[in-house]
Amino acid sequence: MTATQVASGPLPVVRPAHRRPIGFRLTLLVGLGLVALATVSAVAAPVLAPHRPEAADLGARLLPPAWLRSPSGAGPPAVPGTGRPPAGTAYLLGTDAIGRDLLSRIIYGARVSLEVGVLSVAVSGIAGTCLGLLAGYYGGWWGELVMRAADLQLSFPFILFAIIVIAVLGPGLSRIILVLAVTQWASYARLVRSEALAVRETDYIQAARAIGLADRRIIWKHVLPNALGAVSVLATLSVANNILLEAALTFLGLGVDPSIPSWGGMLADSRNYIQTAWWDSTFPGLAIMLTVMGFNLVGDWLRDRLTPELA
């Protein structure tokens, strides 16, 4: 019996030999580039941003992006109470409802958004993967306990959990990250458990255990790489999802200090201006999309590397 004939079930297990050619390396570069862009934006914000993100100028509210403004700044403002910019300032992407520079807020917004997205995913991903591995590979009543806890977590509507926690602990970025992390570990646990179960049942692994291969080695070399494929898809998508969940929480009134820019918060706060100042929501949304794309491209590459396949 060769390894190839034995291989069955939905997930391939064997073959260290052939690495699938990474092929379209461009996707990795683009992905890393976008992630780097967001990271640099977050880290070097004070240097990059042309204005302070909380500096309001009530005389320059809701200005359109620079290329849509008439050169002399002449013409009546579309919304009463808005004005023309003082001479010499650019406001490249326009201003928001308080007259703050949109570009600066987007640059600074990377900080909060990345913090929320990455930290919550890191915590929930690591915790969930570990628990899911244990539950899937070892099973038994320990596995049942983990799964019931996961059920518990999943049965609890996220929004209600968020409202209760934030009402009790007060608003703040750490609360939001906590809520996101605590509500999401169960998804990773269940996903990893299903992969671990499938792998455990394959003849190859059963044979390996029969001949006495250490569990830890099996988990590390065979179960984990396969699980990581699906986990990396979920994780990269979750980064985006969590940035957007922060927007939903702001929409429901549970968000953080609104003067601190965050892409999700900017989207929520500008929803009444969609018809009069579309740029206030479109550009933060684009920022999210580019960052999400970056994470996903990297995640795709990771998945390809970590999930060995036949050529």
Partner: protein, 307 residues
Amino acid sequence: MIRFIAARAGGALAVLAAVTLFVAFGIRMTGDPAVVLFEGSAPSAEDIRRIQRALGTDRPFLAQYAGFVAGAVRGNLGTSFRSGQPVAGEIFERAGATLALALGGMLVALAAAFPLGAYAATHRNALADFLIRVGSLLGLSFPNFWLAIMLILIVAVRLRWLPPSGYSGPASLVLPCVTLGVILASTLVRLVRASLLDTLGQPYMRTARAKGLREGRVVVRHGLRNALLPVVTFVGLQFGALLGGVVVLENVFAWPGLGQLALQAVTYRDYPVVQGVVVVLALGVVLVNLLVDLSYGVLNPRVRVGS
């Protein structure tokens, strides 16, 4: 099998107990429903005590919780503080709207994700694949409330094709279900594509092709069926998460469903309604998870859960 289901039932009860206990305790930690009823007109201490007695919130926590459980096992989920109506009735009235939204959204998502994901997987690295992947990212980049408001503005206000909000017949289902479906589909497409790519590279797929089966049949019969496992897991997972998205969408579309009920109940500290909704939702999620686990056995006989 019987032992498996019995064990799961026991586990489910434990989950329900834990969830309701946590909610009952958590919601009482801040805000007093008696004070909330006064809506900003300052109540006197005597007023507050009087209302607390009428609502039963002056009893110790365990007494309140025990009362709730005793009623719940008999099917009586208590009476709403705000409306004075039985909680079970309140939930039942709204369940249909939320189910319609959730199922409709899921259907839209599946109907879009399977064909698109399959096409992307089979035409890997082609322009279509790239477009589908970028499109799915676009669907993920804007929050659900933003997408909802945009659709309302374009379809209901500018084009006047559909009603902007409210649940008033099949036409009113379209916008909310499409909003929900687009968001779900964005994740599902990638999942379907990833699973299919995994499956399509398998040796037995090669065998199938070598046997002369058409590509389409190969993809569908073997590829998609095996891709179903992670997709089903995802659907099961999303059921719980769905309710989070549904709360926001019900808010934007003025949808008279459980999401709005739950949100308002928590906001106004209507304890019986919060507890009742959480019980019903938890029950639903546990059931769906059980179904998902059982389906593993069907989709992949090698995986005998509980053995």
